[in-house]
């Protein structure tokens, strides 16, 4: 299923490798820039998905990480449609990110219209959402695969150098995320990945709290939380943390 660079010219909507060297360099620095005081892993992964999506003319990006029992968890997405694409894969147990995670290899240029046999749960739903082609990249640390990043787009075709760029970006982001520099120095370590997964769980719990308190769905609750965070220029994890900490006081996310 990997037809690398089979099309060029008009059928090709975007090519990562046409992005300027300066822009790419900036991207790589951002992806590695995690040793800052106010590092927030969910924000970092959201930034990463948005930046990778920005490489494509039409493309959205979603990302999942696995826990110690190899259970994948949704972590971040460039927009709502990409989040749904990740959730479909988890719900129905098939899809490009799951394949990339299980094989440790990229899944490239899969035409959704022809992928129903391959992914009976995911492919028809992704096509219905308006996507035409999908790609997925494993998130790797040494020999271990810790998650996957999916790219959902129109008729976007990636060539070999595009694949290299996106995969390298994913690799750099993982190193940044897990702070491997600190790991190599053998200092007092912390389990960054476990912390990352747990902070996503806190967001889901906050969604449930706000959903129940306001009589809305969890998705609507997420929109409330996210909008509140944006309006007040606060981090998503921080707002979610406050919501769960304030239990049993019902949260108020109204304009203020």
């Amino acid at each position: 299923m990997t037809a690398v660079g089979t099309e060029s010219g008009e059928g090709r909507l975007s090519a990562v490798s046409t992005v300027s060297a300066e822009r790419l360099a900036t991207l790589f620095v951002e992806a590695a820039d995690t040793l800052v005081d106010e590092f927030d892993v969910v924000e970092f992964l959201q930034m990463l998905t948005r930046r990778v999506a920005g490489l494509f003319e039409t493309g959205e990006v979603g990302l999942m990480l696995a826990d110690h029992r190899h259970r994948l968890t949704f972590m971040a997405a460039s927009d709502e449609s990409a989040r749904l694409m990740e959730l479909f894969q988890l719900q129905y147990g098939d899809g490009p990110c799951l394949d990339a995670f299980h094989t440790g290899r990229p899944v490239i240029n899969v035409n959704l219209a022809a992928a129903t046999d391959k992914w009976p749960g995911f492919a028809p739903r992704a096509a219905l959402a308006g996507f035409e082609s999908v790609h997925a990249f494993p998130l790797r640390l040494r020999k271990e695969v810790i998650g996957a990043m999916g790219v959902f787009g129109s008729a976007t075709e990636l060539d070999a150098s595009d694949i290299l760029v996106v995969q390298s970006l994913a690799d750099v982001a993982v190193i940044g995320l897990l702070q491997e520099r600190a790991i190599r120095r053998g200092e007092v370590l912390s389990g960054q990945l476990q912390g990352a997964l747990n902070s996503r769980v806190v967001i889901e719990q906050a969604k449930g709290i706000v959903a129940q308190a306001n009589g809305v769905t969890p998705d609507e609750a997420f929109a409330l939380i996210r909008d509140f965070a944006r309006r007040n220029n606060r981090r998503l994890s921080e707002v979610a943390g406050n919501i769960v900490a304030d239990l049993p006081v019902l949260p108020d996310l109204a304009d203020r």
Partner: protein, 244 residues
Amino acid sequence: MIVVDDGIIRVARLVADEPARASDRGGVGGVLRRLCTAAERTLSASGVGVSVVGQEGMRGVAAVSEQAYGPIEELQFTLGEGPCLDAFTTRQPVLVPCLANGAMTRWPGYAPALHDLGMRAVFAFPLQVGAARLGALDVFRVEPGPLTDGEFRDALTFADMAVTTLLDGQERAAPGTMADGLDEVTGQRAELFQAQGMVAVQLGISLADALARLRAHAYAEDSALGEVARDVVARRLSFDSGQL
């Protein structure tokens, strides 16, 4: 494509096979002691302890693999510092493969005391589900050196099991039955955490208690935890309508 991981089943079996001792307390305490001893052997540790940190700063040692480790675990609370408390506070595992300079600076009271007792490495794992925090599991070693990848995964799985044991202890008479697959949520686990938040608001209880209630309901109804969570999120099931 769903990969069923047998880690939790294997760990549950290790704990179940661990013989009881006359000194074991009943209920949760006894199960946790066997868990600590099974973890000690599996992780090539010299000692393992579970401490519970409750609301309003209530805290204490719940179980240790060997009685000698009770005071070692307790000392963190006396001094108010240590990897266990840091794992709890930061909500991440704290790994100290070599109890040397860095650790001495970070825990000026606890680290030297631990060193004097012959300990050379300590690893602490938070007992938590998102914002629901119960305590920490501590692994002590007399030899320095990191946990292998496999040991790290096993330690996290022992911590998972300690969480379910503590949760079920609040609701269920016979804890330690988590190998029955009830807690295995396949697919979207996000729904479980959302349901947890919803039930916490429905009943005005903590997130930890809400998860315990969800698990107890699944157990009582003999249904999968994921199904119960889905019903709560879809508002087919509510815990505040007096039906439970």
